[in-house]
Symmetry: C2
Subunit: 247 residues, 2 copies
DNA sequence: CGCCACTTTGATCCATGTCAAATGCGGTGG
DNA sequence: CCACCGCATTTGACATGGATCAAAGTGGCG
């Protein structure tokens, strides 16, 4: 059973690595839609595959009405919201295979802006148009329930691990989470590309950017990681893991 | 259209205040099940209403397989999990109208233990038995999607507000969130009962219990709140709100 | 009445925020 | 190709919020 949407872009030269459809968070729904191949009978616009997004471009604007869920195919994104004092706060990063916008399902509008950190591509699922797709509601609903449930569980973990850990632990957990997500999606867990700025990381982790910088160099001096501009290589995963375990 | 399950317990004497069914998070599903009244044809055990839970009792144990979602009818609960270093961490409080266990929908097991902070009661929805209820899958699925979506949005807010606020702001936000939830459910937003210990609050907010204590007395000295053992009266909601706005 | 758990208050220390300056890096124009 | 500029990052010095340790106060319950 070849997954058609994964075939064409196999070796397009300098393109960044893509996550395989089979590893993508949207896959259950794509399956239900037969990947919206022409012969599937799914109308145009329900599932748009591989939409390119230039670096710096907004994929979603805060408070925009909800219409679609996106899956990151390649590249990366950051989610930014405004807190009560109206200052920007990074609330998440999206890597290949991640879903963007699931929280809009309930609220009817997006609760954050999403910006491409690099040249990226996404698959877009038009939720409003889903009923037109003629697919079994049950399948799609079940898939959505699963997705949302995973989202809840993930958020839960993140919250738990971020609050009341010190700066070193937060950074270690952050790096490990990137590595794990990368691995889950079938990419390398050792060579990571941190396309976000130190400020973005700091904002996300609730730290000062100076602290992020200091601790990253500390990790590097301990030979736990190797950091060259935005390329991160994990040398000693065990050491990072131990850090989170020690209280 | 009287809501049957709200009728009988109207004035049972010394019982704590109950949330009305119409204000309960489970209501959309209860509606779909006709409140599981005898004449509704819903089998026994799908929706158990008003199960009493004694103070200190476990409603859910960590890692227990998932079977049901609960709605708090009266009283209150705390959710406790263990972090990587195996120490206990409070990850949430449940007040009347709140749903417990929604994250199990996806993970198939509960990710925290839930303990009654006082004599409480819950409605129990047996998710496994739902298909037997003969209700339209669509209705129930839609309701579940809405519930999960709200959960995601809520978690999002909590995470955003907790990380990178100082202790005063966290406490202020905590009190305000209790007040708002109380109000949303149709109860008083000024008179709150904090049945959890200072340690529980501290654990939840990622602070030391001494800090919680100190700041609560500080708020009291400023005349923003009045605190008598576990009864909290909000005197100056505006002041608390301003605190979160200032960065 | 007295024990035990919880809470409050006080004193001290350290991690991390803040401010400031130096360094590095990419882009642009000459 | 180099000179210059602007921005991100790194590094240093210092201040402080909150953790930690310690001890006293408070209330519930046998």
């Amino acid at each position: 059973m070849p997954r058609a949407c994964c075939l064409p872009r196999q070796a397009t030269g300098s393109r960044p690595l893509e996550v395989a459809c089979s590893e993508c968070g949207l896959d259950p729904i794509c399956l239900a839609l037969d990947y919206a191949e022409p012969e599937s009978g799914v109308p145009e616009g329900v599932l748009d595959r591989r939409q390119p997004i230039p670096r710096g471009e907004l994929l979603i604007s805060l408070n925009q009405p909800f219409h679609a869920i996106y899956a990151v195919k390649s590249g990366s994104f950051k989610a930014v919201t405004r807190d009560l004092s109206n200052s920007e706060r990074v609330v998440g990063f999206f890597l290949p295979g991640d879903l963007i916008g699931t929280d809009g399902l309930a609220t009817e509008h997006y609760s954050y802006s999403v910006r491409a950190l690099e040249e990226s591509s996404v698959c877009r699922l038009d939720v409003d148009a889903l009923p037109l797709a003629g697919r079994s509601r049950d399948m799609i609903q079940d898939a959505l329930i699963t997705l949302l449930g995973q989202e809840v569980a993930m958020n839960h973990m993140v919250t738990t691990s971020l609050i009341q850990q010190n700066a070193e632990q937060r950074l270690a957990a952050f790096i490990l989470s990137l590595a794990r997500r990368s691995e889950i999606r079938g990419l390398s867990s050792q060579d990571l590309r941190l396309r976000m700025s130190r400020s973005d990381i700091a904002s996300y982790l609730g730290l000062a950017r100076e602290t992020v910088s200091r601790i990253l160099t500390r990790f590097q001096n301990l030979n736990w990681i190797r950091l060259r501009k935005h390329a991160l290589r994990v040398h000693d995963q065990k050491a990072l893991e131990q850090l989170s375990v020690l209280d």
